[in-house]
């Protein structure tokens, strides 16, 4: 048996994995199977976007966690014996992937950043290690070759008319004994920049205190905390010391830092050196922040920030 399987617990990622899976299936000359919870319309949409087969999960009981699909997914995969099984690296997906791999006695490449098929038809995958300071290349000697794929690594698959495929509805998963007794939406922003995953930082490039609203709006769209440079808190007192990044203030390590009108004095840069991705918007193309940034826009922040807000909303 052969084939490429994909599963994501969120739709956006199903579309991304369709792109990834379609590519692999085409190079291996095999079919692409998508696992998803939903109805026939969902299935037809996935087929139109590249799936050859859709395995539909019936809905769960209100108090059943989505992880209850794990035994069923493992059983189906054991039966069908696909070459490759990709799972979206959401928090749920990462757990489910590891559990399915354990049930199938196979290996899993966690948060795979690149995938290539070598001349023997095997996956060569790369992933980050040691807190992002090293890249490890791995392959898998057992079946299926499994990987979890971070969000946004692939473009969402587009609808192609006249694609055909099969749909099969799976049986309802047995309750596991684990019950969801409450669900809550995302917690309100805590205001704590040292623990924040995304930080938008306001700098001296802002002309007046009201302009902070613009920065806050951008932060809102990104689910980010708002921080500032020393002049904003110490000289202008527009924000509190609690929000100030830099030497003798807070050192932060968000996955994403976005500096707005931050020139990048060394004391500030020391505070953000642990950030995953550093982005900057500044009118001065020679601002030192760009030396320490991964991505930068040179231009007027009053034009750029509103455009960014629109674009990130999409």
């Amino acid at each position: 048996m052969s084939g490429v399987w994909i599963y994501a617990d969120k739709y956006e990622q199903v579309f991304e994995l369709l792109t990834a899976g379609r590519g692999l299936a085409d190079s291996l000359g095999t079919k692409l199977t998508a696992l998803v919870s939903g109805d026939n319309d969902t299935a037809q949409d996935l087929i139109a976007r590249g799936a050859d087969e859709v395995l539909l999960f019936p809905p769960l009981a209100e108090d059943q966690p989505v992880q209850d699909y794990v035994p069923l997914m493992a059983d189906e995969a054991r039966e069908a014996d696909p070459d490759i099984f990709l799972i979206a690296a959401s928090l749920k997906g990462k757990e489910m992937g590891a559990r399915i791999a354990a049930r199938l006695d196979t290996a899993l490449c966690s948060e795979c950043i690149t995938m290539n098929i070598d001349d023997k038809g095997k996956l060569q995958m790369e992933r980050l290690m040691y807190g992002g300071s090293a890249i490890q290349t791995v392959s898998i000697n057992s079946r299926p070759q499994m990987a979890t794929i971070p969000p946004r690594a692939y473009e969402p698959a587009q609808v192609i008319d006249s694609r055909q495929g099969s749909v099969r509805t799976l049986k309802k998963p047995e309750p596991s004994g684990m019950k969801v007794i409450d669900r809550k939406g995302k917690a309100q922003s805590s205001g704590d920049i040292s623990a924040a995953r995304v930080i938008v930082c306001a700098g001296r490039g802002l002309e007046k205190q009201e302009d902070l609203d613009l920065v806050r709006e951008l932060a809102g769209v990104l689910g980010a905390e708002v921080a500032c440079t020393r002049p904003i808190s110490e000289e202008k007192h527009w924000m509190t010391e609690e929000s100030c990044i830099g030497l003798s203030a807070k050192e932060v390590k968000p996955a994403l830092y976005l500096g707005i009108g931050v020139s990048g004095q060394i004391q500030h840069l020391v505070g953000i050196r642990e950030a995953g991705i550093i982005c900057a918007v500044n009118s001065d193309e020679n601002a030192p922040i760009f030396e320490s940034a991964d991505y930068g826009i040179t231009g007027d922040l009053y034009k750029i920030v509103p455009a960014l807000i629109e674009e990130f909303k999409k």
Binding site: E95, M96, A98, A134, Q136, T137, E291, A307, L308
Partner: protein
């Protein structure tokens, strides 16, 4: 009163990871440390014991020279440790680690709650906890940031991409914990001195039933670029779009 097991890993301190001139990773001078997230796992085990009683056992699979790691873990509160060690256990992959842990825990340790860190600070595969639960055939609750026991059920608040889920599950159960579940205490001097006197059960490769073959094949390790090479964008609409797309591609923005 619950028997609590916490698993930990003795890892290369990533602060010592430096690329050599050839772009390879040079580990010659690396120091080792207790994996960051496992400090939270041990702390949570000890915290639960302080509330509900019972005992805390620490377990690790490690290279034979990781004896300092055992003392470090024991100085944080567990009363005994299982040291499953072999010279070849330096670079196990998650399927091996979890299978070895499962065999020893199933055969030798009474457990009601097993606590693992969400991942290890070196590999960060985040697999060992969930795999161990499967191998033991017990429920798994991953990415937990609040934990309690009520009427022999574990109540766990776990993080999801959408927000939070509160889960109840019968014991025995395995949970993996996030760093924000607690603030690990700093071991005092007497804790460290006492750690050397706590019982350590030594388990070697020949005491284990199977060979635990490697399934994830390591094809090499190279340094990730640390220098940041700024990609510049202009201020036009296409530039904005490309800038946002570049950030999105890095996968750091939550959606949903």
């Amino acid at each position: 009163m619950p028997n609590i097991v916490c698993c930990f890993k003795w890892v290369v301190d990533e602060a010592y990871i430096k690329p050599s001139s050839s772009g390879k990773i040079d580990l010659e001078w690396a120091e080792y440390k207790l994996s960051d997230y496992d400090r939270n796992a041990i702390e949570e085990a000890v915290r639960l014991q302080e509330i509900y009683g019972g005992g805390v056992t620490a377990v690790t699979v490690a290279s034979s020279d990781a004896t300092k790691g055992i003392k470090d873990a024991l100085s944080r509160g567990p009363e005994k440790a299982y040291f499953i060690n072999d010279d070849q256990f330096e670079n196990l992959e998650p399927s091996q680690t979890s299978a070895i842990l499962a065999q020893v825990i199933a055969d030798q340790i009474d457990y009601d709650v097993i606590i693992c860190g969400e991942g290890s600070s070196d590999m960060y595969s985040q697999q060992v906890g969930p795999r161990l639960a499967e191998k033991l055939g017990i429920p798994c609750i991953a990415f937990v940031n609040q934990l309690s026991i009520e009427d022999k059920q574990i109540i766990a608040e776990r993080k999801t991409d959408e927000g939070m889920e509160v889960i109840s599950a019968p014991m025995p159960v395995l949970v993996t914990v996030l760093p924000d579940i607690n603030n690990p205490r700093v071991p005092g001097l007497k804790d460290t001195l006492a750690a050397s006197k706590k019982p350590v059960i030594n388990i070697e490769l020949e005491d284990l039933a199977s060979e635990y073959k490697r399934l994830l094949i390591d094809k090499g390790l190279k340094a990730a670029s640390i220098e940041r090479n700024c990609t510049h964008f202009g201020a036009g609409p296409e530039d904005i779009k490309a800038f946002v797309e570049a950030i999105r591609k890095t996968g750091v923005i939550d959606r949903g």
